[in-house]
């Protein structure tokens, strides 16, 4: 790696440790995420995938007993020293695994974040709502009833609404945690296509239990297990017959896990 010439990584994680009370969930992992790549994150349950994302946008702060050490830098700035965590969370979009439609209209669901960031002009909000709903493959289904409640949508529609909301504040990093868990395969494919397009503007971290989804979408994939980083590398290597670690091969090919 030509470290001197390479542009600074979008996210740099160094020796990240996270414990909940006395139980350590992440045991000191280090990796980079490059600008405009899709980094797949795979690993069995309890491997620390979701906790890792919560450290990135500092929603881990809300967990009372959680203790984080090590550094996470976004664009070179240590997230744990930031005063304005709200701007950090605006820049690091997050899609949680379970769909959450906020108890307000579909329009307000998508306009909520821009409004929180201070945007008031109706024309701008209209444009953002339409763009995000289109990107989340939901526009055609809801364009005639934007004023009806987001909570009344079906589970899959609410999941896409959640994705639209995560795009609405124009993050430059987008974290997706099992986004396809409640969505049918056809819609999943449509959103995957959108993600490939978004890559031009956004850095994406894709946590998924579907190893094939990581194989399809990601440029690089990271394999976590029980809070340890087993392997991170280009997809051609990780998903080849000879990844760096035998464990990776076994997990991806369903030999354990």
């Amino acid at each position: 790696m030509t470290a001197a010439a390479a542009p600074r990584a979008k996210i740099e994680v160094e020796d990240l440790r996270l414990s909940y009370g006395h139980r350590e969930a992440i045991h000191g992992i280090s990796f980079d995420v490059k600008a405009n790549e899709i980094l797949g994150v795979i690993g069995p349950a309890q491997s620390g995938k979701t906790s890792l994302l919560r450290c990135l946008n500092r929603t881990i702060d809300f967990v009372a007993a959680a203790h984080v050490s090590g550094t996470i830098r976004v664009d070179g700035e240590d997230v744990r020293g930031m005063r304005d965590v709200f701007e950090l969370r605006r820049r690091v979009g997050m899609v949680a695994p379970l769909p959450v439609g906020l108890p307000m209209s579909i329009y307000d669901n998508v306009a909520f974040a821009p409004r929180c960031a201070g945007l008031r002009a109706t024309g701008d909000l209209d444009a953002i709502v339409e763009r995000c709903l289109r990107q989340a493959a939901l526009w055609d289904e809801v364009k005639d009833r934007l004023r009806s409640l987001g909570t009344k949508l079906s589970g899959g529609q609410q999941q896409r609404l959640t994705i639209a909301r995560a795009l609405s504040h124009q993050p430059d990093i987008l974290c997706l945690d099992e986004f396809s868990i409640a969505i049918d395969p056809v819609t999943t494919m449509r959103i995957e296509d959108v993600l490939k397009e978004l890559k031009r503007d956004v850095t994406i971290i894709l946590v998924t239990n579907l190893t094939q989804q990581a194989r399809r979408l990601a440029d690089r994939t990271m394999f976590l297990m029980a809070g340890d980083l087993v392997e991170i590398g280009r997809n051609e290597v990780v998903f080849s017959d000879r990844p760096a670690r035998q464990q990776t091969y076994d997990y991806i090919n369903g030999l354990f896990g």
Binding site: N57, T59, F62, A64, F86, E87, L88, R89, R90, G93, M94, A96, L98, V100, G101, L102, P103, M104, F112, A113, C116, A117, L149, T151, T162, R165, A166, S168, H169
Partner: protein, 311 residues
């Protein structure tokens, strides 16, 4: 061949109709009917005294009940006439005390529920609030006497009595508001935080709009408590008699002493000789009626808001 795993299903024999009654099945049905009957009887037992009280009150009060009774002032050493000064006094006390207690209580509850971390200090505060709600009203009365009448130099007055009632209702308002706030699912808050909303934006945008019904109900239920208590106001500002014009809407100043329905009822039944027997009953009906009216409006409000519930 393996033994079949017991499933609790009755053994079936060939040729039997598929829903044949077993003795166990019949017993289950009987038990169900018995349980239902017991619960129903208990519910009726609970309603019976309430119906008896209300019927008795209304029957006894009937000769005195009229609009005139509500609007008139007590006459001839309180042996006849109406309850207007006491009725207005109660409204004064309740409105002022809730105007003080409701904002403080709701805002404190928002802090405790939305901002406070699970620390030693905040746990002590929560525990204190819960215990305060259980303090007997006579203790609040003595506190009000010491704090507002003497220390703050309000004297025996509407202000001192209202503040004492406010102190008394505050912990319950905090508790009911916290209850309403925690009924809003945590996932809504997390969704807001994830898009960069501050806690305040989250509270204003999602938490408060969806807990209004519970918060308001909790506050309104305190109306009946504030209106019904005698001890706290007897020590701090309610008096036997106060000359007020018939039907006057603003008869008291904050530093005046006042009459109140609960106090008036106590006085009529224990201190005044030769009262027409219907008068105390009619006073009780006015007190009970206004409290029930307020509670009914709380129920109505709750139903209306629940129909607008959004998840």
């Amino acid at each position: 061949m393996d033994e079949p795993i017991p499933s609790g299903a009755p053994a079936r024999h060939d040729g039997e109709p598929p829903f044949a009654q077993t003795s166990f099945g019949r017993r289950k049905v009987r038990q169900e009917a018995a349980a239902r009957a017991v619960f129903l009887v208990m519910t009726l037992l609970m309603v019976a005294p309430l119906v008896a009280i209300v019927t008795h009150l209304v029957v006894e009060a009937w000769p005195a009940l009229s609009l005139e009774f509500l609007l008139d002032i007590p006459r001839e050493r309180m042996t006849t006439g109406g309850v207007w000064p006491a009725f207005v006094g109660t409204i004064y006390l309740v409105v002022i005390s809730l105007a003080v207690a409701a904002p403080i209580g709701v805002l404190a509850a928002v802090y405790l529920n939305e901002y406070a971390k699970d620390s030693w200090f905040n746990r002590v505060i929560s525990l204190a609030v819960i215990n305060l709600a259980g303090v007997p009203s006579i203790v609040h009365a003595l506190f009000g006497l010491g704090a507002f009448v003497y220390a703050a130099r309000f004297g025996f007055s509407v202000a001192a009595a209202s503040l004492t009632l406010a102190i008394m209702t505050l912990p319950v308002i905090i508790a009911s508001t916290r209850e309403a706030l925690s009924a809003v699912p945590m996932s809504f808050r997390e969704a807001c935080w994830n898009v960069g909303a501050t806690r305040w934006q989250t509270i204003r945008g999602v938490v408060l709009p969806n807990s209004t019904s519970g918060i308001l109900t909790g506050i309104i239920l305190q109306v009946s408590r504030a209106a019904g208590e005698t001890a706290p106001i007897m020590f701090t500002g309610a008096v036997l008699y106060k000359a007020v014009e018939r039907g006057a809407l603003l008869p008291y100043y904050l530093d005046d002493q006042c009459m109140a329905l609960s106090m008036h009822l106590y006085v009529l039944t224990t201190q005044v000789p030769n009262v027409a027997p219907a008068i105390p009953y009619a006073t009780a009906v006015v007190l009970l009626g206004s409290v029930l009216l307020v509670n009914a409006s709380a129920i109505g409000l709750r139903i209306w808001l629940r129909n607008r519930k959004r998840w």
